[in-house]
């Protein structure tokens, strides 16, 4: 009797582990770009009128998806993010992305809005130029740079020489919203 329940339990556990792996590896090539107008409602500062409101809990559809984060890593160099933000996110003439300081917010929808709308002093707007799907992939990758996604999902290595720890080994940090200085 005991061995049977052990068997059922282990089968269930295997199924649970396997189903969680599935989402990690799914490649959603045919996903149509989601219509996204939510950046218009995204708050990027700490000041807000009236009573403090509930924050919308929006996640990147690729936050749990290693393929999507990998695509984001590829797009990060394809769309020339690296010259300003650094190859591994260490920052250059643009702010670093691997630290805990976030000028316009560390929430996925705030990062989406920053990429899509652009920000003063240099950040160009990518909305309308690249599909929403790719912006969400970039959001997931940017989050992985500061250790904001699970280490099992973040990239484990670069295709070329590594100047920094891989994303999967960066410790998670508590994001601080600094605002524009």
């Amino acid at each position: 009797m005991r061995s049977r329940s052990t068997l059922i339990l282990s089968l269930l556990l295997t199924a649970a582990v396997m189903s969680s792996r599935c989402e990690r590896e799914t490649r959603r090539y045919k996903e149509l770009p989601a219509a996204s107008n939510r950046e218009t409602a995204v708050r990027v500062g700490q000041l807000e009128p009236g009573m403090p409101q509930q924050k919308a809990d929006v996640k990147s559809p690729y936050q749990e998806n290693a393929w999507g984060i990998g695509e984001g890593k590829r797009l990060y160099s394809a769309y020339n993010c690296a010259p300003c933000h650094g190859v591994n996110g260490g920052g250059a003439i643009g702010p670093p992305l691997m630290d805990d300081a976030w000028i316009y917010g560390a929430q996925p929808d705030q990062i989406y809005a920053t990429i899509s709308q652009g920000r003063p002093d240099g950040m160009p707007s990518f909305g309308g130029h690249i599909p929403a799907q790719q912006i969400w992939q970039l959001v997931a990758y940017v989050q992985s740079m500061g250790g904001q996604v699970r280490s099992t999902t973040a990239a484990g290595r670069n295709d070329d020489q590594m100047g920094a720890l891989p994303e999967s080994r960066r410790g998670s940090q508590v994001p601080v919203q600094t605002g524009h200085r």
Partner: protein, 313 residues
């Protein structure tokens, strides 16, 4: 029957050597196979009768020694022939050769015709024109993983390795259209990573090269102008280049003369307006996993883009 991609229909010196070697091996193997088959048949027919006959020990020894010596001589002859042909495959280097840099990407070929004067360089993709009767030296690079360039009618295959430059020399002796194929598994769309090689008579090749040095022609009709605007201000320009316009992305095939090419998606589909429309609206259905996302154009924008791309001869 066309011999677009065939080792035994060589169109150049090197391929002729390779095919020569192939026929020698084929002849020897056929001979050995037929001889063994005949010997086995004879042995089967003799069956029990022969089992009772005792051959003298010395005759068995002689037979084995003869077979051993014959095999060794054949093997040495094949190795000698193979080394000689292997060496002569690489003796085409010539100072007046045409130099072409081919960079493999997942899953397409970037092609650049070298010239000391930068403005005379030509960039294209997935289609290589070469002059008949003139040696061509390829510089082979890769941007991501290991690929392999194989144009069976013209040469043997050679790998394109990231971080390393390989060379391949070939010469076409007959005008014609040949198909090349990636011959090293490189990911999901490895099978749809082909290229077209067009061997032109020299004067026709010079004409093609001169035509491809030009920037894209200016749009004429308002619809073509609109198409150009959509490309420049929309998603296309993020990855594609059209010389003479604002589109200058470097991560996808050059579109400056796309209407003059015969295939789309690295040999996946023919380059006609209908296929082009299908490709632009949903590339992931035609070649799943390729790097082009659906750009999400409205139908009138798509028509304008098609009208403009059609003029890029």
């Amino acid at each position: 029957m066309s011999h677009l991609q065939s080792v035994i229909h060589p169109a150049g010196i090197q391929a002729a050597l390779v095919s020569h070697l192939w026929w020698i091996l084929f002849g020897i193997c056929t001979f050995v196979w037929v001889a063994v088959a005949i010997a086995a048949l004879i042995a089967m027919r003799r069956g029990h009768r022969a089992a009772s006959v005792d051959l003298p020990e010395s005759r068995i020894g002689r037979n084995v020694a003869f077979a051993g010596v014959a095999t060794t001589i054949t093997l040495i002859a094949i190795i000698f022939e193979s080394v000689v042909i292997g060496r002569s495959l690489n003796t085409l280097k010539a100072p007046d050769a045409l130099r072409i840099t081919v960079t493999a990407n997942q899953w397409w070929w970037d092609v650049q015709y070298e010239n000391p004067v930068p403005s005379l360089r030509v960039t294209t993709a997935n289609e290589i024109h070469i002059p008949v009767g003139r040696p061509v030296g390829f510089n082979l690079l890769s941007n991501d993983v290991i690929h392999s360039l194989w144009i069976p009618n013209l040469q043997g295959k050679i790998d394109l390795v990231p971080g390393r430059r390989n060379e391949l020399w070939l010469q076409a002796d007959r005008p014609g259209v040949y198909r090349g194929q990636c011959a090293e598994y490189c990911g999901l769309q490895h099978a749809k990573m082909a290229l077209v090689v067009v061997a032109d008579p020299p004067e026709q090749f010079e004409y093609w090269l001169t035509a491809n040095r030009a920037s894209a022609p200016a749009p004429v009709t308002p619809e073509q102008q609109r198409g150009k605007d959509v490309i420049e201000k929309g998603p296309c320009a993020m990855c594609h280049t059209i010389t003479g316009t604002l589109a200058g992305g470097r991560t996808a095939p050059d579109l400056t003369h796309i209407a003059s090419r015969s295939t789309l998606g690295a040999g996946s589909i023919p380059n006609t307006q209908g296929y082009l429309a299908g490709w632009i609206s949903d590339p992931q259905s035609i070649k799943p996993g390729n790097r082009m996302p659906p750009p999400g154009l409205a139908s009138d924008e798509l028509q304008a883009v098609l009208a403009y791309l059609e003029t890029l001869k």
